[in-house]
């Protein structure tokens, strides 16, 4: 049982320099077993590059990525056996239908009878019979979700998994991730959807220009960015109404209201703090 004491996903001092300030520089973080980790950052910050290393697609220039103690580059086929992956940009074989593609993957991965395909297709109301080439972005995304979850992997690496989904499907996806977490799955989810990360992840890492600028629990990030105000009102009736309107806590004629910054605002704090970096936000 020594695995239990090992981090499910571990990235140590990962460096990949593409030149011109692009790439990832000295990125380190870990994801525990059974934990959901949100990986936030704007476009081009290095989220996908980090994930490519975890998937064993590219070799670190220096540093190390391991999943359950197995090196992500040299042991990639072993790592892949337990991994579910949604790529940031879905691009499947477009010469065949979704049904054929899922069947191909079942056989290619040798999933056999334990496939969750039917259940997932139903959950996301996906009809995979059409040719992939003709599918809309959202439908392809759903197909990607089914493909990533159908072999019931222990570890999920999801690169902007809800892009292209409508709000209803986004919320179904968030529910799916929450269920998987309850079942003890380890999840790394990159996103710029603050809402879904807030709802699903225990800890959040923020990456900017290839460097991790914050890694903390979602709760702590909130805590740090919560301000509360106590307001004294004229009488109890006014206080009661005020408390009801502003979701505050009343004691006598005093009402305490908390202004929670959304994760988005927290995010902006990290990103917008430096005036010289204004162009990065856009």
């Amino acid at each position: 049982m020594k695995e239990v004491f090992m981090n499910a996903i571990q990235i140590e001092n990962l460096i990949r320099d593409y030149g011109g300030g692009k790439g990832v520089f000295d990125v380190s973080f870990h994801v525990d077993h059974g934990e959901a980790f949100g990986f936030l950052g704007p476009n081009g910050a290095g989220k996908t590059t980090t994930i490519r290393h975890l998937m064993g697609f590219i070799r670190p220039q220096s540093g190390k990525c391991t999943i359950d103690g197995i090196d992500c580059w040299s042991g990639r086929d072993k790592v892949q056996a337990r991994l579910g992956y949604i790529p940031g940009e879905i691009s499947f074989f477009d010469d065949i239908s979704g049904t054929e593609f899922l069947k191909f993957l079942e056989e290619y991965r040798r999933i056999g009878t334990c496939s969750r395909k039917a259940e997932l297709l139903e959950r996301f109301e996906l009809d995979p019979t059409g040719r992939i080439k003709k599918m809309s972005k959202g439908t392809k995304q759903k197909l990607g979700i089914v493909a990533a979850f159908m072999h019931d992997p222990d570890i999920l690496i999801l690169d902007e998994p809800t892009s292209g989904l409508d709000p209803l499907m986004q919320s179904r996806f968030v529910n799916l991730v929450a269920e998987e977490k309850e079942h003890g799955k380890t999840i790394l989810m990159s996103s710029h959807m603050f809402e879904e990360v807030e709802r699903t992840c225990d800890r959040i890492g923020i990456i900017r220009k290839g460097r991790m600028i914050a890694v903390d629990s979602a709760a702590a990030l909130h805590e740090r960015h919560t301000r509360s105000y106590t307001v004294t009102l004229e009488n109890e009736t006014a206080a009661e109404a005020f408390a009801a309107d502003f979701d505050g806590v009343r004691s006598g004629i005093r009402v305490t209201v908390a202004a929670k910054q959304s994760l988005e605002e927290i995010f902006m704090n990290y990103y917008g703090g430096d005036k010289n970096d204004q162009h990065d936000i856009i």
């Binding site: 697609f57 086929d77 892949q80 992956y85 790529p87 477009d94 993957l105 991965r109």
Partner: protein
Amino acid sequence: MISMTLYKREMKGSVKLLVIFGAVIILYVSIIISMYDPEMMKMLDSFVDAMPELMAAVGMKANAADLLGFMVSYLYGFILLVFPMLFCILRGNALIAKYVDKGSMTALVAAPVKRRTIALTQLSVLLSGILLLVFYITILEYICAGSGFPGELDLSALLSLNFGLLCLHLFIGGICFLSSCIFSDTKYSIAAGAGIPALMYVLQMLANVGGNAEKIKYCTFFTLFDPDGIIVGESNAAAGAFLLFAGAVVLYGIGIMIFDKKDLYI
């Protein structure tokens, strides 16, 4: 060592091309073999006399001694070189580089399948296609010659000739496969995979013209395939075929190694 699921999928992808090239080859082979006729040979020879450079460039020489010599002159200089070569170029590029370029390689590598297995599977698909084409050519030639000119064709010489042809195409396939493994961009994979064999073929055409240009033959691997030498059992011709075969194996090995080690930005 290979993934049968992937192999089946890719062989389906080869079918269309194989059918097209099969149809083109049956057309040429049957027509050319049926043209074997001493009278007609005289006419073709007169073409060769009239424009020796042009005819030599496409590998057609005068005075082909017998049916097989006739076939060597009129089939093994152009048609049976170029069509299987086109197959190698098109499939070679599609098997690896196209997947990487389009990003659908993700589906193949994001699974508990070794990259070497993927590359080896794709290579087997290419090799199966080449084998099928050469096998088909052999059967076709045997049937056409047997029905038109019974007893004229030396079967064992035909088999060694087509074994040499197979070695040549395995080598060309090696070039296409290697360039597909090296380049992550279809543009460059096609440029190298098609450009190198095409350039070599053009050099071979120049060398065939003879004269001073003959020295060019040392610059092209097509020289290693010597149909005339093979049918008379020359040891140099056999060595050439062996070199092509050995070279092909080396190219495959390097290709698989490169794909195994390369960074995939998918």
